[in-house]
């Protein structure tokens, strides 16, 4: 994120003349972390693309409610998390499958996904992560893959640091147990 001065672009967002260009710059800056965060939750590229588009469009239409009290990235991550959870819930409601059915369908889709380049071990690891409840999966991905600090996660998820640490600890234990059972 070199050369990105958040305060400068925030000021430009408040100027009608520069607003669209400033938002474009923000999309360029944050699209990749936001995309990968969503993708690790929904797994499929097309779904991740839809959720990311909704995320940025919601941010665009809610720009006036953003008062700069948090970092732009925190605000965008918060919208992305909400949109991802909404998407996963709607998928479950639409298909009215059981959790196990959804997991096995997601696993099959992942195996056939042309945009999944992981080896067998990585596929097994993803299957283990899929077993976690959505919120725990979010916490695990943010800590393990995105390497976010607990304090940042607290701001995004609105959950205390203590609860996040406990959630991550339980997630790791569950993943280890699953992987051991698969050997």
């Amino acid at each position: 994120m070199n050369g990105f001065n958040e305060a400068e672009w925030l000021a430009k967002l408040n100027s009608p003349k520069h607003r669209s260009a400033a938002f474009g710059r923000i999309v360029q800056e944050y699209q990749q972390p936001i995309y990968w965060h969503i993708r690790k939750m929904v797994l499929n590229h097309d779904d991740a693309n839809d959720v990311m588009q909704t995320t940025f469009m919601k941010a665009w239409s809610a720009l006036d409610s953003f008062r700069g009290e948090s970092k732009i990235s925190t605000w965008l991550f918060r919208i992305a998390v909400n949109e991802t959870i909404t998407f996963l819930n709607s998928q479950r409601n639409k298909n009215s499958y059981s959790t196990d059915d959804i997991e096995s369908s997601m696993a099959q889709n992942l195996e056939a996904d042309p945009y999944f380049s992981g080896d067998e071990a990585q596929l097994k690891f993803q299957k283990a992560i899929m077993k976690l409840p959505d919120k725990q999966r979010l916490v695990f991905n943010m800590k393990y893959f995105d390497d976010l600090k607990y304090e940042e996660m607290e701001e995004i998820l609105g959950t205390s640091v203590g609860a996040l640490k406990a959630s991550y600890h339980h997630a790791v234990k569950k993943i280890e147990a699953y992987l051991l059972s698969e050997i």
């Binding site: 669209s20 999309v27 360029q28 006036d64 945009y115």
Partner: protein, 108 residues
């Protein structure tokens, strides 16, 4: 955590995906401009001046009414106590009796 499970990203995207996405978002935001609230459209000093003018005009309109009603009430109270102080008890009793008698006559 098992060292075999490193943090390498096993997911990929179509070629040029992020460039295309940024361009798509740029065209979408250009066709749907969110409306800025008035206080963001105007310069801050204009907004401050408008707010101050509003406060001053409001104060000018409301103050005389409130002050006038307070003055009249205070004046009535001063007059009443002055008159009561001037009358002795007998005069006050006579006055009250005559008012009462007048009231009864008119009722008949």
């Amino acid at each position: 955590m098992n060292s075999n499970f490193d943090k390498r990203n096993p997911f990929t995207v179509p070629d040029g995906y992020f460039e295309d996405f940024a361009a798509k978002m740029a065209s979408m935001t250009q066709t749907s401009m969110p409306s800025l609230p008035w206080y963001k459209k105007t310069k801050s000093w204009v907004a401050i001046a408008a707010t101050l003018s509003g406060v001053l005009i409001g104060a000018k309109l409301l103050m005389p009414v409130e002050m006038a009603s307070k003055t009249v009430a205070q004046q009535h109270s001063v007059e009443e106590s002055y008159i009561l102080n001037q009358m002795d008890e007998a005069s006050l009793a006579n006055y009250l009796c005559s008012t009462d008698a007048e009231g009864q006559t008119s009722n008949k």
